[in-house]
Symmetry: C2
Subunit: 259 residues, 2 copies
DNA sequence: CAGTGGTCTAGACCACACT
DNA sequence: GTGTGGTCTAGACCACTGC
């Protein structure tokens, strides 16, 4: 990443012409692959060229390409499959429904409590409030799409969430298309708008249900709820979604692993 | 880990005599290093033998040792320092006070809001209740140590937590020794009891403050609090601590990164 | 069978830290 | 300078997948 240029330069290794940065060769390769992903040259689900092919293309050894791909795989941007090849990670296909949702039922066994029932409450375009614009890297007043929905598990409303998306990247997204889409939201973003969420930051706190939350989650005002504010990022750490959720944690909990 | 024995066996590579498992050589090396760590052969903070030394000892190439160490470093069990060597990770020394605490002040800038004020409320030995015994892998009625304490930030009580430790592993731990210890708790566990926490799982939910919580956190009954139940593990995924915390999230939030 | 990723080796050179 | 980890190479063989 850092464009430091130690005396190593190109005397020993033939740095590719297009590589803008120096420092470890495998980092340069990683950058080049990342650029291709960002540019949409290889789309989610695609098979990318083999390590040997890439090694030849970049004029480095297979081991160097391997190390670059290793890191990208560790970041879940690529997926390796022995004997088949390396693929661009995708939310579509595979039934990994909820990419970032950490809420799980208390009963550990009930793995198949069935999918959530999704219902879109609202979906409208509006001018971005200051705080939303700030976190999405927009200007106040820019067009954003706001969606409000409720997720229910086994008939019990459990999650109320609002989400905001940059209007420019999601032209044509309507409540109908959201409702029609069976799978998870991130899969739709990927297939229909070419936006792949890669990473997210969350801020959690406990707060009391206000009138609106109480209504949609069918609890009394003041019920403690888990507030989860999430900012999701595409490639290049570009924020593309702000989500504010309220989770009912009577029969579910937010699971986290620390290491 | 899995003792699968493909025909590869020792025709090509001289498997070490003591190695109980087959499959990738570097995994075996990793296991051997792990065993040494668990046995206390190399203690937290220690410099372990160089890659070349280990390669010779295990009769494999440096690259294979390197891959094993890479994984252990990724799991934060070892720390590599270029030019110096590879060390056993430690909570002592370094000022990384709170290993697993994810609660941070809302004001992002206030990095140095000063250390928390710790006060031990209670510290006693008792027979493990059923639920505590289960998560710690003990039998109901086994001796456990229970500690209750409050953490305050800038004078404001913010965290009330109870923690349970297996009595057998923490003989001689008293409120005095806890109070006397300046640093974080995990550092004390390491230096005084040879117990290093490696990983933890947490379950979060929102709930209303009961009478006791309200008293210690100086809030009114019913105030929404973030409940954090943590199980911390030593080497070998052995549970060694159960912690139940209640966090006041008025001016702080629980931060999480998803990827 | 051919092609892919996965493992392992042996040796080279670089960057860094301590002495 | 010596020794350590960090990078890079070239080539070998294995394991899995799909034709």
């Amino acid at each position: 990443m850092a464009p430091t240029a130690p005396p190593t330069a190109d005397s020993a290794h033939p740095n590719e012409a297009a590589a803008p940065a120096f420092s470890p060769l495998y980092q340069q390769i990683k950058s080049l692959i990342l650029q291709a992903l960002q540019a949409g040259q290889w789309k989610p689900g695609d098979l990318i060229p083999s390590e040997i092919e890439l090694a030849g293309r970049f004029r480095v050894s297979q081991g160097t390409v391997r190390k670059a791909i290793d890191e990208l795989a560790a970041e879940h941007l690529l997926v390796r499959r022995q004997g088949r090849g390396t693929f661009v990670a995708t939310h579509a296909e595979q039934q990994v429904q909820y990419r970032f949702l950490r809420l799980v039922p208390d009963a550990a066994d009930a793995a198949s409590q069935g999918p959530a029932q999704r219902s879109i409450i609202d979906c409208k375009r509006l001018r971005a409030p200051a705080d939303v614009a700030r976190t999405l890297g927009l200007r106040t007043g820019d067009a954003v799409l706001q969606v409000r929905r409720v997720l229910a598990f086994q008939g019990v409303p459990t999650i109320l969430e609002d989400l905001w998306l940059p209007g420019s990247a999601f032209k044509g997204l309507t409540a109908e298309r959201l409702a029609a889409h069976q799978g998870a939201m991130y899969a739709l973003f990927e297939t229909e708008f070419g936006v792949r969420m890669v990473r997210a930051d969350e801020r959690l706190r406990a707060l009391a249900a206000d009138e609106a939350a109480a209504k949609w989650l069918q609890v009394s005002i003041g019920t403690p709820l888990l507030s989860v504010e999430r900012v999701a990022y595409t490639y290049q750490d570009t924020p593309m979604e702000l989500r504010r959720g309220l989770y009912l944690t009577d029969t579910h909990h937010y699971r986290n692993s620390l290491s």
